[in-house]
């Protein structure tokens, strides 16, 4: 419209030069003028017209302006004007300021213009690249408008511009460099540019983080005075939020970079918290949001857990709790701090334990939990604050059996402390107060103390309440159902539905999965009739949810029923439904819960957020319970008795199957153990095998070494005069054996000597005996003796011959040794010298000679090996001889023993004949002394 009017108006005006005409002229000048000054003036004029005639300048001049950017790179002034002009025609901001009073239509028109010109500018993506290169210009008049123009383009066509920047080399890095610019204006506008750049683009967010954005931004925040800083701090925080929200990779980087620790000082607010500026509130709000982004329940549990741990370790949680208990903190900051603390402690045992230990600085000190709950059930507190406290309480109890136990314990008769207000008292007070919001919050809070905790569900059944004077105490369960059924009679503030929904959610959570609680509930004769009446009645729209919840409660009574009450067995309840309500009707009513418009909203996330108090109906954890139960209850209601029985049977067979499976599992476990054992064995064996291989390799290498030595020797032999290297080696081997043999021989010889002397003695003894008994001796004995003597003589000669043989061998061996030693030493090199002399002689003859000498050597080698073999056999012979002589020696010793015997008998005979013979003992001693003497002699000989 504006466009048309502008064009039409321009034509109609006629005589006076219209804006459009002037702009056309200026454009021509920009395009055609050869003088830089002329072009510069024209662009300057265009700039000044660009706000008033945005449409005209945009349509006619844009291409010319871009051309200037390309061609007049050297003149920063004209670049600046051109960029400014482009900014004016694309950007909306200043128009907005001017047009504030004007109607929406105009606003829409400027928006259209912005979109139109952005599109026009982006027709050539290269123009973004051009802008990126212009950012490299240090001149303020170029860089600043370039930053602003790029920001405006990103604002208008974010995704497209992001795409172009992402793929242009170093595009993001260049923009990151803006944060390092010493001119604050550029740095601050750079922040705004990066905010737009990182919006909703994870890839760019990661690159910006990679370029040390966290470090820089945190530094700027510190420089600017943290929460006391101005809007720059806010911009930094917004950019940080952009980088971290829903970006797990960057969150991980933030945590790993130890940046969580750097957030702690942000929350060190002083005692005097009055008079916070609006900016400070905004900054702190964003800071708290940043903490929450890191520990959000939607993040992966592992990542959240590690951040929670870190926040406790660095003292951030403690700092937040200080704000929680401080006075004078603005309400919305307090609320957000409660929400933040909630998420920092949610599901983290250490943090929950710490939170339970926090006390409010009052006298006497009260636990923070109690102080917070007081606000929750106080109807004068703001709604959002009460929601935040409920969230905090829920997060404190989330996966916290210990905390659940502690809360329920404050209600039990044995642990009640009458002097101080406890959490339990406050919850009960809220449950039965006249404020429906308090009813709902207290019911949900109590339900969270029972969540997934059978022990506490049973414990809570013990709670008794004193009602009015003179009446017997009533159980908490009973009181809840009483209020439910009498609800209509009590005057309340707020909605009645809210109270009943809260109580029904509490009851459902309480008795689900807890047959004892179901029995308790059914034990009250009024309950089932009340529920059936509620469900079967045809009530208005706003009662539908209550009907659904009643159906759910009745369904739980069937599903978790252990049939311990005769009047209310599963079967009887089912029949009741069929008769009074009808199965289909029951299921339809049950479906009212999930079909409720607020149900899916509550199912989204754990935090209780409601636009208005009336919409506070569903709890997140409760939606999970409904999801779990709806299907199974529908099935349970539809199932007939027979099917029930069948199911029982199936269950039994399943159990059997389970048994079989467990047996197999055990078998598998055993086999696993066996496999493990075998594996170990295999490992041990393989290591052994490796060792063996290693030794084999070693031995092989030794053999190789020997072979090499042999080859070297062979070569030596080839070059030098014949020598018997290997022969000597073999001899060397034999010398060892020979020396061994020699030792053996030495020993044998010694033995021989001893034996000989003994023999000589015996001889002497025998001769004396013979001579002394010549006359009386019988001829037989004489012959015996002579025989013996002869034998001895023979033996002696044998021994002598052996010793001579031994000596012979010794000399032989000596000869061999000397030969072996001498041979390597006489190595005169005739062939080498001959080689030197006959260098001129024909090579053929030389090779022939060589061949011949090799043959010779080989022969020699053969000879030496054969001699070695001969020596070997000789050695063997010697050994066998030694063996023989040993045997003979043994025989000799035997003979000697025999002789001794004979001498004995002879002596006896002599004695019998009446001859005086020397006493045996004397003889023996004599023998011994003589032996000793011999030994001494032997030693002397040595």
């Amino acid at each position: 419209m504006n466009f048309l009017r502008g064009v039409m108006g321009g034509q109609a005006a006629g005589p006076q030069p219209t804006g459009a005409e002037t702009i056309q002229k200026l454009c021509d000048r920009v395009a055609s003028s050869t003088l830089l000054e002329d072009r510069r003036d024209a662009v300057r004029a265009l700039k000044s017209l660009s706000k008033k005639y945005r449409m005209e300048v945009g349509t006619q001049a844009m291409d010319h302006l871009v051309t200037i950017l390309q061609t007049d790179r050297s003149d920063s002034e004209i670049l600046g004007y051109s960029l400014d002009t482009l900014y004016n025609i694309i950007c909306n901001d200043e128009e907005e300021e001017q047009d504030e009073s004007e109607d929406e239509n105009t606003q829409k028109q400027t928006d259209d213009l912005c979109a139109l010109f952005t599109e026009k500018f982006l027709q050539d993506p290269e123009r973004i690249t051009l802008l990126l290169t212009l950012l490299e210009e240090f001149d303020f008049h170029v860089r600043w408008p370039a930053v602003k123009l790029l920001t405006a383009l990103l604002k208008s066509q974010g995704a497209q511009v992001q795409g172009i920047i992402l793929v242009s080399p170093m595009g993001v890095s260049r923009l990151m460099d803006l944060l390092a610019d010493s001119r604050e204006v550029i740095r601050n506008d750079g922040l705004l540019l990066l905010q737009q750049l990182t919006r909703g683009n994870a890839a760019i967010q990661k690159i910006v983080a990679f370029e040390n954005a966290f470090e820089r931004l945190l530094d700027i925040i510190t420089e600017e005075g943290s929460s006391d800083g101005g809007i720059v701090v806010e911009d930094c925080l917004l950019l940080l939020l952009n980088l971290l929200k829903n970006n797990s990779s960057n969150q991980n980087f933030f945590k790993e970079g130890s940046y969580i620790q750097r957030m702690k000082p942000w929350f060190e607010v002083g005692d005097d918290n009055s008079g916070w500026s609006a900016q400070k509130v905004t900054n702190l709000h964003l800071m708290l949001q940043l903490v929450r982004v890191m520990v959000s329940p939607v993040n992966s549990p592992g990542a959240t857990a590690s951040c929670q741990k870190c926040m406790f370790q660095c003292g951030l949680l403690q700092q937040l709790c200080t704000i929680l208990m401080a006075t004078g903190v603005p309400a919305d900051i307090l609320t957000e701090t409660i929400n933040t603390v909630s998420e920092v402690i949610r599901g983290s045992q250490i943090n929950q334990d710490y939170f339970a230990s926090v006390n409010a600085p009052s006298s006497p000190p009260r636990p923070a939990i109690v102080v917070l709950l007081m606000s929750m059930v106080n109807e004068r507190q703001p709604f959002v604050l009460r929601c935040a406290v409920l969230y905090c309480f829920q997060c404190f109890l989330y996966k916290n059996q210990k905390g659940q136990g502690e809360i329920v314990a404050t209600l039990l008769p044995s642990t009640i402390d009458a002097n101080s207000i406890s959490a339990g008292q406050l919850l009960c007070g809220g449950l039965f107060s006249a404020d429906s919001l308090s009813n709902w919050c207290a019911a949900v809070a109590l339900a969270h103390a029972l969540q997934d905790n059978l022990t506490q569900k049973e414990q809570l059944l013990r709670v008794q309440l004193a009602t009015s004077l003179g009446k017997p105490p009533v159980s908490l369960l009973q009181q809840c159902t009483n209020i439910l059924s009498q609800g209509d009679k009590i005057v309340r503030r707020g909605s009645k539905v809210q109270t009943r929904v809260g109580l029904l959610m509490l009851l459902c959570t309480w008795i689900s999965n807890c047959p004892i609680a179901v029995t308790h509930f059914l034990h009250n004769q009024d309950n089932v009739p009340f529920l059936t009446a509620q469900i079967s009645e045809n009530l208005g729209e706003d009662e539908r949810l209550v009907q659904g919840l009643c159906a759910l409660l009745l369904g739980i009574c069937i599903y978790h029923n252990d049939n311990s009450l005769e009047n209310y067995t599963k079967e009887k309840l089912k029949q009741l439904i069929e008769k009074r309500i009808g199965k289909e009707n029951f299921v339809e009513k049950l479906g009212f819960i999930t079909k409720h418009e607020l149900y899916s909203r509550a199912a989204l996330k754990p935090q209780p957020v409601f636009p208005s108090p009336e919409q506070m109906l569903f709890d997140h954890e409760f939606t999970k319970l409904v999801k779990d139960l709806e299907g199974v209850i529908t099935k349970a209601v539809h199932k007939s008795t027979e099917e029930d029985k069948k199911e029982e049977e199936v269950k039994k067979t399943l159990e059997q199957h389970d048994n079989i499976v467990t047996r197999y599992k055990e078998l598998i476990r055993e086999q696993d153990a066996q496999i493990q054992e075998l594996k170990e064995q295999v490992a041990a064996l393989s290591s052994q095998h490796e060792q063996m291989q290693a030794t084999v390799a070693q031995q092989l290498s030794q053999i190789q070494q020997h072979k090499d030595q042999y080859n070297i020797l062979k070569l030596k032999l080839g070059k030098e005069s014949p020598s018997q290297g290997d022969g000597s080696q073999q001899n060397g081997l034999q010398t060892e054996e020979l020396s061994q043999l020699r030792e053996e021989l030495d020993e044998l010889r010694k033995q021989h000597a001893v034996l000989q002397t003994q023999l000589a003695e015996r001889d002497a003894l025998i001769t004396t005996l013979q001579s002394s008994s010549q006359t009386t001796e019988s001829p037989a004995g004489g012959s015996d003796n002579t025989e013996l003597l002869q034998e001895l003589e023979a033996l002696r000669s044998q021994v002598q011959s052996q010793s001579s043989e031994i000596s012979h061998l010794k000399t032989e061996r000596q000869e061999l040794l000397t030969r072996a030693e001498a041979e390597p030493s006489d190595t005169a090199p005739p062939s080498a010298s001959a080689e030197l002399e006959s260098r001129l002689a024909a090579q053929t003859s030389e090779t022939e000679k060589m061949k011949r000498s090799v043959a010779e050597l080989e022969q020699q080698l053969a000879a030496s090996t054969s001699t070695a073999a001969i020596l070997q056999t000789e050695k063997e012979k010697l050994q066998s001889e030694v063996q023989e002589s040993k045997k003979e020696q043994d025989d000799l010793l035997m003979l000697l023993a025999d002789q001794d015997q004979k001498i004995h008998s002879l002596k006896k005979r002599l004695k019998d004949l009446g001859e005086t013979v020397e006493d045996e003992d004397d003889l023996d001693t004599k023998d011994q002394t003589s032996d000793d003497d011999d030994e001494e002699e032997d030693e002397d000989d040595k």
């Binding site: 080399p169 595009g171 890095s173 890839a203 990661k206 690159i207 370029e211 991980n252 980087f253």
Partner: protein, 212 residues
């Protein structure tokens, strides 16, 4: 938490060569046989010790797919070390090394330490690229080389640590300008920079002079 130095690494190479698995093995000491394609870039970190000094490694694991190439290029400039990975059971991944290397050399700072890694060394039976070929390529282009298995964790520690050692040596030699964070190196908080100690000592001097 305190560290003497912080090094930034990137892991590059064709898709499916095991870059993300190498990182997971190094940071979490586990192997994930089925891994989704990396989208863009993922981050991981771990502390190591070299020469008695704590060194923090920040590692960006990039997507190998061609369509992400322009995004991953943005990470070259700020990295002190790069692990260039190929798959020993797929020759084409080895053949593409030249392109990767050109890309890296063009966009990175000249001192970036590049470690060539032949991954999946546990799949010896399916090997298509000999170890010697990898060694030769590394020698030719001045890279460090190693064969690793993200599955069995063989050489994974060594690959990351040896790269860090090389960077550390370059710092000791004064090759890296450690005060320029764009090089991918940062000095830890407990490790005062030479500059700051210098200025503080100068400050002390001046104060002393003023006193006299």
């Amino acid at each position: 938490m305190a560290y003497a130095y912080l090094f930034k690494y990137i892991i590059i190479g064709d898709t499916g060569v095991g870059k993300s698995c190498l990182l997971l093995q190094f940071t979490d000491k586990r192997f994930q046989p089925v891994h989704d394609l990396t989208i863009g870039v993922e981050f991981g970190a771990r502390m190591i010790t070299i020469d008695g000094k704590q060194i923090k490694l920040q590692i960006w694991d990039t997507a190998g797919q061609e369509s992400f190439r322009s995004i991953t290029r943005s990470y070259y400039r700020g990295a002190a070390g790069a692990l260039l990975v190929y798959d020993i059971t797929r020759r084409d991944t080895f053949n593409h090394l030249t392109t990767w290397l050109e890309d890296a050399r063009q966009h990175s700072n000249s001192n970036m330490v590049i470690m060539l890694i032949g991954n999946k060394s546990d799949l010896e039976s399916r090997r298509e690229v000999k170890k010697e070929e990898g060694e030769a390529f590394a020698r030719e282009h001045g890279l460090i080389f190693m064969e690793t298995s993200a599955k069995t964790a063989s050489n994974v520690e060594e690959a990351f640590i040896n790269t860090a050692k090389e960077i550390y040596e370059k710092i000791q030699e004064g090759v890296f300008d450690i005060n320029n964070e764009a090089n991918g190196i940062k000095i830890g908080p407990q490790h005062p920079t030479t500059n700051s100690t210098l200025s503080s000592s100068q400050g002390g001097h001046q104060a002393g002079g003023g006193c006299c």
